[in-house]
């Protein structure tokens, strides 16, 4: 099978990816789409920094600036960071637990296509009357008032992409609970798997509030309901609660898998097992648990009263404890180890001080009365970029270099990787460190310009230059990727030489069925144990035999396409209607909107029907086929 895929034209390859249910190919889809949106969000970030480089700048108009910041935030969180993490979760987790695929391969494919179509829909707003402009938080009073369809693109696009995320979350929870190889007990799971599990549980609980909030917003804008219309008895604070009940766990959904990636990297390149493994697992679970109890610290200035503010202050401070445990455990992992400074390890090492700085400003904000000053100022902008860039993006870049051979069978250039590392980290600190001070000097966030003579000029210029360095670093990374893909120099099993966890025991490229025989897990760092105590080969837990694999399917793609089509109907449904809210009642009427909505939903339900009533039993990989592959690998190794 693997050899058959080698010599095919572009068309069949694209068809293969459109229909694939293989978690490794889905990981590549997530990586490509997420990478594309990351570049898009990055360009938006550069536009923001250019506009703010000098006072009274008119590079972007006020309205356009608000669209750019909204799309920058939304794109980076929902369409770049999360999908890129899903890329690495898909690429590693089934391999780390010794599974041949995820629990629901069909849903896995549905998840990625929903995300891609949702993302495309959201970004089409640029060409169809203007992007959303109420900030990535889209607070209800402003988002209800925002004229045109920008906010509808936001609500519908995120609804579709969010459904994909929720589905993927359910899939990972099930996979990790039920598909572990014999011997892979919970307390032997690699940290990447643990953090994926906890993040997926968070997704399962955190995304429904967002779904509800988005539905209420859509109903207000689409059917003229009044959940958030104060003059007809609605309440806008409800949106803030729903958004942050989702939004705060979302931060942990992002950071926990990044923690997982770092944990793997520290252990690998320090040649030492993770210090305090059980404390790390405990801390991960605790962070996930606390993550749900602190959402109102985003709302200290809303006027919830001193009791609520005090409770959420203290709860927020409590999160520092498990996070601190993690930081110290990482330091003691490298302590007394043998550190090799590879590019992923450099990102991981740079992460520790950067993330600690982001973390401590988080604690500073937990002190509610002080937060009255920080809130909605550039201090906040600095803080969350320190944790999201210094934590999540460093994690993604580290993961990209670290897992690249696992995903593509080649190695990214270490030299270019290090150049881009230096530029990125230096640019990052230059961009965001100074923003703490801008905030303290009274500069509010989300301002499209600032007046001269307030003492903000130099600092903003420094920040812009830093952002430029980050952009150059990303361009170098892209060049690195292009060169690596063009050269296509294949590497073999365990390319870093110090792989500890199960995924590195596999031959590269990983066969489509992952494991010829399900391995037996004898402890934490399963592959390392076999390398040190045995011949470096995983012991099989079953005899070589035929096994079952799922069939490819185009249906997930079609379902997502159907929702994409339906969204256009929903978008224009209220345009020009008498009963609609002011924001859309002046627009021209579109009588076809209802029919497009019905057509889209028909596509969805018919494809779901086909999936339900048509039996798809998958196929068997035969023993002979596997034996042939094993022989080939043997020959390749020699």
């Amino acid at each position: 099978m693997a050899s058959a895929t080698k010599k095919r034209g572009v068309g069949p390859v694209i068809w293969d990816y459109m229909t694939t249910v293989d978690h490794k190919k889905i990981a590549i889809l997530y990586l490509i789409a997420g990478g594309f949106f990351f570049a898009l969000g990055g360009i938006e970030a550069m536009l923001i920094r250019i506009q703010l480089a000098v006072p009274n700048n008119d590079f972007l108009s006020a309205g356009l600036f608000n669209e750019v910041i909204t799309m920058h935030g939304t794109t980076m969180i929902f369409l770049a960071a999360m999908p890129l993490l899903f890329a690495f979760m898909n690429a590693t987790v089934p391999l780390q637990i010794g599974a041949r695929d995820v629990a629901f391969p069909f849903l896995n494919s549905l998840g990625v296509w929903l995300f891609i179509f949702g993302g495309i829909f959201l970004n089409l707003s640029w060409f169809m009357g203007g992007a959303p402009d109420a900030g990535w938080t889209s607070y209800a009073s402003l988002s209800i008032k925002s004229p045109g369809h920008g906010i509808d693109f936001y609500a519908l696009g995120l609804q579709i992409a969010g459904a994909g995320t929720l589905i993927s979350g359910i899939n990972f929870v099930t996979t990790i609970i039920s598909m572990r190889a014999p011997g892979m007990t919970y307390m032997r799971m690699p940290l990447m798997t643990w953090t994926t599990l906890v993040a997926s549980v968070l997704i399962v609980f955190a995304f429904p509030p967002l779904t509800i909030g988005l539905f209420l917003l859509t109903f207000d804008r689409m059917f003229g309901s009044s959940f958030f219309l104060v003059e007809t008895g609605g309440n806008t604070i409800i949106w803030e609660h729903l958004f942050w009940i989702f939004g705060h766990p979302e931060v942990y959904i992002l950071i926990l898998p990044a923690f997982g990636i770092f944990s793997e990297i520290f252990a690998t390149f320090a040649r030492k097992r993770l210090f305090g493994y059980s404390a790390m697992v405990f801390a991960t679970v605790l962070i996930g648990f606390f993550g749900f109890m602190v959402w109102a610290h985003h709302m200290f200035t809303v006027g919830l009263g001193p009791t609520a503010n005090a409770i959420f202050s203290v709860a927020t401070m409590a999160i520092a404890v498990p996070t601190g445990i993690k930081i110290f455990n990482w330091i003691f992992t490298i302590w007394g180890g043998s550190i090799e400074f590879t590019t992923p390890m450099l990102y991981a090492l740079a992460f520790i001080p950067s993330f600690v700085m982001g973390g401590v400003t988080g604690i500073m904000q937990a002190a509610a009365p002080a937060d009255y000053q920080y809130h909605d100022s550039y201090f906040i902008v600095a803080h969350f970029h320190y944790v999201i860039v210094g934590g999540v993006v460093f994690g993604l870049l580290a993961g990209l270099h670290y897992y690249w051979p696992l995903m593509f069978g080649t190695m990214l250039s270490e030299k270019l990787g290090k150049i881009s590392f230096v530029l990125f980290v230096a640019g990052f600190h230059m961009t965001f460190l100074i923003q703490h001070f801008l905030g303290l000097w009274g500069m509010p966030r989300r301002v499209f310009t600032y007046l001269d003579g307030q003492g903000y000029n130099t600092s903003n210029m420094i920040s812009t230059v830093g952002a430029l360095m980050m952009a150059v670093a990303v361009i170098i990374l892209l060049i690195n990727i292009i060169i690596t893909v063009a050269k296509n120099q294949k590497v073999g099993r365990d390319p870093w030489g110090d792989g500890r966890t199960l995924e590195w025991s596999l031959p590269l490229p990983v066969p489509h069925y992952n494991f010829a025989q399900t391995p037996l897990i004898r402890g934490l760092d399963a592959y390392w144990i076999e390398k040190k105590e045995n011949d470096g080969k995983m012991m099989p837990a079953e005899s070589l035999d035929d096994f079952h694999m799922p069939n490819n399917s185009i249906i997930p793609f079609v379902i997502s396409l159907g929702l994409f089509v339906a969204a256009f109907g929903a978008l224009h449904f209220a345009s020009g209607k008498e009963w609609a809210i002011d924001a859309v009642s002046d627009l021209p009427q579109h009588p076809w909107a209802l029919w497009v909505l019905i057509l889209g939903l028909a596509i969805v339900f018919i494809s779901m029907g086909v999936r339900s009533w048509k039996d798809d039993l998958g196929y068997y990989v035969t023993k002979e086929e596997v034996l042939k592959d094993l022989e080939e690998q043997e020959r390749g190794a020699k």
């Binding site: 305090g276 059980s278 490298i334 509010p444 301002v447």
Partner: protein, 381 residues
Amino acid sequence: MKNRWMNAKWIGLISVLMVFLSGCGKNHLSTLRPAGEVGQEQFNLMLLSIIIMILVILVVVVLFTFALTKSRRSKVGEDFEPKDVAGNHTLEVIWTSIPILLLIILAIPTIYFTFKQADTQAMETEDGELNSEEVIVNVTAHQYWWEFEYPNQEVVTSQELVVPTDTKVYFNLHGADVKHSFWVPAAGGKMDTNIDGINSFYLVFDDEKAQDSERLFNGKCAELCGPSHALMDFKVKALPQEEYDQWLADMKAVEEPAQASADDAAEGQGIFNNSCIGCHAVTPQGAGAQGPNLANFGDRDLIAGYLEHNKENLVDWISDPESLKPGNKMTGAYDLSEEEIDKVAEYLMGLNVEEGSGDVSALEEDDEESSEEDSSEEGGN
């Protein structure tokens, strides 16, 4: 000996921090130059948290650097096989309990000030009436301007908040169209102006600090509220109590729109009365108007909340508000020729409230009267 050295070290650290922090920012708009009790308390809390956090960063960085330098592969050698350590209970307990202790140190003042700064009971008398003894301002935020009403004196102004120094100034905050946030960085933290209800808090302005910044502080909108969010600035004029009382009395004394004296201005007044008065009042009464109250427009420090106060800017603003504040509600609400705009501007620049025209004692009597009324009502009950 050691103790004294430790103390000296702390004092050194704190003073370095103080210099570093308070040496930065403009004193009329920086949170690091607190100009009143509320801002000062918040600043102290910031300092406490910064000191604790710098301590944490130092510990982490020292451990990290040490681990990094001593465990490089180039140093320990290619063949060195690190000992696998599962963990260490003592260490785990230490780095769990010390952070908890540090957080308790931070949590106690946090809780104390959270409750202290939320205490606005004095705004109301025991029977739920507005307390006429206190300085109370109703703030209404609009896209993209601010209305300030003094309910005890029934005086309305906009864009330029006037407050007395060295006393608590209580605010009732409300958003008229979308959510905004009321922020005077030098005086203290912000609070949102929700459209759902009214938020209350207080600020204090020190007289000395007010003098340092020429009695003018910058105020800003801190919540994204539309295209011109960045331009929704206002000024806070902090006056000594007597001057503040006089200002209120002067405002109160304006019952009729001031008559323009110069010819151009008089013509301008006519045009204004035809085209503008539907939204803009020129007497300091009538809260809740469509546009900013202009009764003391000539005395203000800014045009449109952020431009220098001169006629040229005013003419520009009236001619094309959209280019100066995108998304504002004034654009297209009137149709005036260039000449007419010039005359209206002339008229508006002359809208001063005469200093000393009002009778302060009358204001006080008013207050007493109303409080007497209150007490008689109380008696009736």
